[in-house]
């Protein structure tokens, strides 16, 4: 719709857009028949790494299109993901995503198919990513390591930027509460055989305080910029060459108030994150074979500098990560009913940080991998996909990740999908090399598994170790965390434009890496290191309903039921080995499984309801309701798990609304109000500052 209003020849426009998708992603054998050109939104690439009609994919996948993005008034990736069924945004080291109950470190975030790096504590901060130049977002749930390797355990979120090559430009400006200003300019042009797309985005905010009488704000003033350029050149009818360039800078003006044993210590400084990537490719597209050679170089440089007020003390934290990859993917359309995709690649990764030892020491890992996938339409009603990937790692054990999926479509209305896949997450550099001692809080230390033994020996020589625990003997090279994920889904199309879909999921995660105490220091401090110890499970049901009420009204509703558990805790409870302390009497009792609320930060229930009104003249209005049930935060009764009623944050309801119109052919104006009910939870929802209004204007030419 965003574009449709401006272009008379909608069909040719869509055909054009789609063909450009094909060119960028894909399988030469898919003909641009009427089935495919219906709508761009119906084609997904992330689930199989080849473009497929959404209804033909046997894996749970959903798409957020540009229109929804615009009408929801979303600026950053976390804004729009928070509005999706089954996705929670958790505010911890930035805004991380939670998919199928798995936390941010287990979800892979791609931009145009390439992985984003630069995680803090495992969390990839989604607010780094602007959604102002995005054509669509594809969300694949369940493990997809068979195609993407590490991190694709809970799901894969692929942000597809607008590289359409149409001769157009748009300029957008937005102003909102907390002095939030967002400006964006997108440009695309076809010059002979070269498509040029460029976009810039600038976003700033004065931040806000939820706690009065504190010098440190809840969200500090920041600015962020995104610059992106993509060049695609058609060398000949079959050959194509191009590259993307992207740079993302975040600057936060930090004032940090730390209470050191009761005394407020004020520090001032900044945090700066600089991420860049280059994505060159060369592609050949024959009649049956399409092959692409892709390079990917990305760097993430983070610096945090704080000066303690009234003292010469400074805190400087630097973290430089470099990731480069070369990969070939070949898609071979063997027959009309069968397609084969295979590929191989090599990754070189390095990190240097003063959190580990010094900036001068680079910690490295390299990974070689290959993958293959076969898709076969067995009968008219039954399609099967099988695939695997093998990752041979230098710094840790190698992994096989298979995946199988079946789709059964008895008729036009119903489709039933079942898929099973294995996912994995490689041990990250922090878990391998961290060397951290906190002198303020209990003098505890955390050492990565690769450096723990040497550090313990060093401290032991200094007579600082009191006792080494039993787990120290188990210190070994870390293995990747692995999961098995099963998804069983059905989609039913009813008359009068109604669609219902349901998906049952279960993920079993083993070899989870957790910290455990390896030794006690003589000063009472504890020394932690990382071990493959825990197993967990997440399971649940996701329900979605989509209904066109009238020509102008559409309704969408979603619900997720989620059950999570640490399996070892569950086993211990069953054996009667875990106790809880009653809130009123203070006495200990043995716990029952029903008292156990599973992993922290998970809501058992979450739901949404979205109502949109839209006329053919370009006026729209939306009202979106989001409910998130209570979730566990901190243990309060000494058993280390979530069980008692005072260990939860309260459930809440958010209501967002927006409305907009098009005028004078080139202009679009919208205004919105997020969190109409002004809900706040100072302690548990620092990212929810209460009611936020904004106004947004766009000029297209």
């Amino acid at each position: 719709m965003k574009f449709a209003i401006q272009y008379r020849n909608l069909k040719s426009f869509l055909t054009y857009l789609f063909s450009s998708v094909l060119v960028i992603y894909s399988n030469g054998q898919l003909k641009e028949d009427s089935l495919f050109t219906q709508s761009l939104d119906n084609v997904v690439v992330t689930a199989t790494r080849t473009p497929r009609l959404m209804g033909n994919v046997a894996i749970p996948v959903s798409v957020i299109n540009a229109k929804t993005l615009y009408q929801s008034g979303s600026l950053r990736l976390n804004d729009i993901l928070a509005e999706q069924t089954g996705i929670n945004i958790v505010d911890n080291f930035g805004k991380g995503v939670q998919v199928q109950g798995l936390s941010s470190e287990y979800t892979l975030i791609l931009v145009d198919g390439e992985p984003l790096i630069g995680r803090t504590g495992g969390v990839l901060d989604l607010s780094r990513i602007s959604v102002r130049n995005i054509r669509k977002i594809e969300i694949v749930k369940g493990p997809s390591s068979s195609l993407y390797g590490s991190e694709a355990m809970g799901g894969v979120i692929n942000i597809i930027t607008d590289g359409s090559g149409i001769n157009k430009s748009d300029f957008g400006l937005r102003y909102g509460r907390f002095n939030t200003l967002d400006g964006s300019y997108n440009f695309s042009r076809r010059v002979k055989k070269t498509d040029v797309t460029a976009s810039v985005n600038y976003n700033r905010s004065a931040g806000y305080s939820l706690k009065p009488n504190q010098q440190q704000k809840t969200v500090e003033p920041f600015w962020k910029t995104v610059q992106q350029l993509s060049l695609n050149h058609q060398l000949s009818q079959r050959w194509k060459l191009g590259s993307g360039f992207r740079r993302n800078v975040t600057y936060i003006d930090n004032t940090i108030e730390v209470s050191n044993q009761g005394i407020a210590v004020l520090s001032k400084g900044f945090e700066r994150n600089d991420e860049y990537n280059i994505t060159p490719y060369l592609q050949y597209k024959g009649d049956k074979i399409k092959t692409t050679l892709r390079g990917y170089i990305t760097g993430f440089e983070s610096e945090q500098l704080l000066s303690v007020k009234g003292s010469a003390d400074t805190y400087n934290d630097r973290f430089n990560q470099l990731f480069s990859r070369v990969e070939n993917q070949t898609d071979w359309q063997i027959r009309e009913q069968s397609a084969f995709t295979f590929g191989a690649g090599h990754i070189e990764e390095s990190v240097a940080s003063n959190r580990y030892d010094s900036l001068a020491t680079k910690r490295k890992n390299s990974i070689s991998y290959f993958f293959a996938q076969h898709e076969e339409r067995l009968t008219r009603k039954l399609t099967a996909i099988g695939g695997f990937r093998f990752d041979a790692n230098k710094a840790y054990a190698s992994v096989w990740s298979p995946k199988m999926a079946l789709q059964f479509k008895p008729d036009e209305k119903l489709s039933i999908n079942i898929s099973y896949g294995r996912g994995f997450k490689a041990p990250d550099f922090r878990q391998l090399y961290l060397n951290f001692t906190n002198l303020a809080a209990g003098a505890y230390s955390v050492f990565g598994s690769e450096v723990a033994a040497a550090e313990l020996q060093r401290l032991s020589a200094l007579q600082q170790i009191d006792q080494v625990t039993g787990v120290m003997g188990g210190l070994a090279a870390l293995k990747p965390e692995v999961s098995g994920g099963l998804n069983l889904g059905a989609r039913l199309k009813l008359k009068d434009g109604m669609q219902i879909s349901a998906n049952l999921f279960r993920n079993d995660i083993t070899n989870m890496i957790v910290t455990d105490i390896v030794a006690f220091k003589k000063n009472g401090g504890q020394i932690y290191s990382y071990f493959n110890l825990k197993s967990a499970l997440t399971q649940g049901l996701e329900l979605d309903l989509d209904k066109r009420i009238s020509r102008t009204f559409t309704l969408k509703a979603g619900y997720q039921y989620l059950y999570t558990a640490d399996k070892d805790v569950l086993a211990q409870i069953r054996k009667g080995e875990i106790f809880q302390r009653e809130l009123t009497s203070g006495s200990s009792v043995r716990m029952k499984t029903a008292d156990y609320a599973g992993l922290p930060l998970r809501s058992k229930h979450s739901a949404n309801l979205k109502l949109a009104y839209e006329t053919a003249t370009g006026f729209f209005a939306t009202t979106r309701l989001f409910y998130r049930g209570r979730w566990g935060t901190f243990d309060q009764d000494g058993n280390g798990i979530i069980n008692r009623s005072d260990e939860f944050a309260k459930g809440f309801l958010l209501v967002n609304a927006s409305a907009g119109l098009s005028f004078r052919k080139h202009w679009k104006l919208m205004a919105g109000l997020d969190n109409l009910l002004n809900y706040k939870d100072v302690l548990n929802l620092p990212g929810t500052p209460g009611r936020v209004g904004y106004i947004d204007i766009q000029f297209n030419f």
């Binding site: 044993q261 009761g262 005394i263 901190f634 309060q636 302690l683």
Partner: protein
């Protein structure tokens, strides 16, 4: 109304009288003393050290389980007290801590489940700095969580003591904060620091010298 309540009280008096006489004749003297002790300060925070560490005056609070009372600090070198509390450190009247016959061990289970000191129990004796009750997080009676800066008694831990005079007692620490309420994990550090080191505990003391807690 009046007549009814008069009849009621007469009946009640009869019942009480009867039961009293029964107890006096049939049941032996009750030797198990059970009590809940609230808000015993244990070297509470008086200020901050030059480097910002919260500090108390460094003295133990002594408690007699036998008399269910706090014993003055001046009696530290006597057998009047059974346990001493200072911050998260708990001592017994024995070994390097006092002249008594004290000792202790930690039983894993609930207070009510422990009806008798198990026959194979070994009472550890204080040998400073290694106390019978280990004064360290997750190894003794409490859990310290750096993220929340809170001390919580481990649930399902019963401290079994031998008193200064060699009798047996069981103790469950219920809380470590003033008023018997642990501050919320999200409470300010100031509140957490200045309301800590107040013990609320439940105990049972067996005066007859046996290991029974029934």
């Amino acid at each position: 109304m009046k007549t009814r309540s008069i009849i009621g009280s007469v009946l009640a008096a009869v019942v009480i009288f009867q039961s009293c006489t029964k107890e006096e004749t049939a049941v032996p003297q009750v030797t198990l003393i059970q009590s809940i002790v609230k808000d015993i300060p244990a070297d509470t925070i008086v200020g901050l050290s030059p480097i910002g560490q919260p500090v108390g005056v460094g003295k133990f609070t002594f408690y007699s389980l036998e008399t269910n009372a706090v014993i003055p600090n001046t009696d530290s070198n006597s057998t009047k007290w059974d346990i001493g509390l200072r911050g998260s450190t708990i001592i017994t009247n024995g070994g390097t801590s006092g002249p008594g016959k004290g000792g202790a061990f930690i039983y894993v289970g609930t207070f009510d489940e422990l009806t008798k000191v198990p026959a194979d129990s070994t009472f550890r004796v204080d040998a400073a700095p290694n106390y019978a009750i280990t004064a360290s997080s997750n190894r003794g009676w409490y859990l310290y969580t750096p993220q929340t800066n809170l001390v919580t008694p481990l649930p399902g831990r019963v401290l079994v003591f031998k008193t200064a005079s060699g009798k047996y007692a069981k103790v469950e620490i219920l809380n470590y904060y003033k008023g018997g309420v642990t501050p919320a994990a999200t409470a300010p550090d100031n509140i957490k620091i200045f309301s800590q080191r107040y013990f609320t505990f439940k105990f049972a003391y067996q005066a007859d010298g046996t290991t029974n807690f029934k």
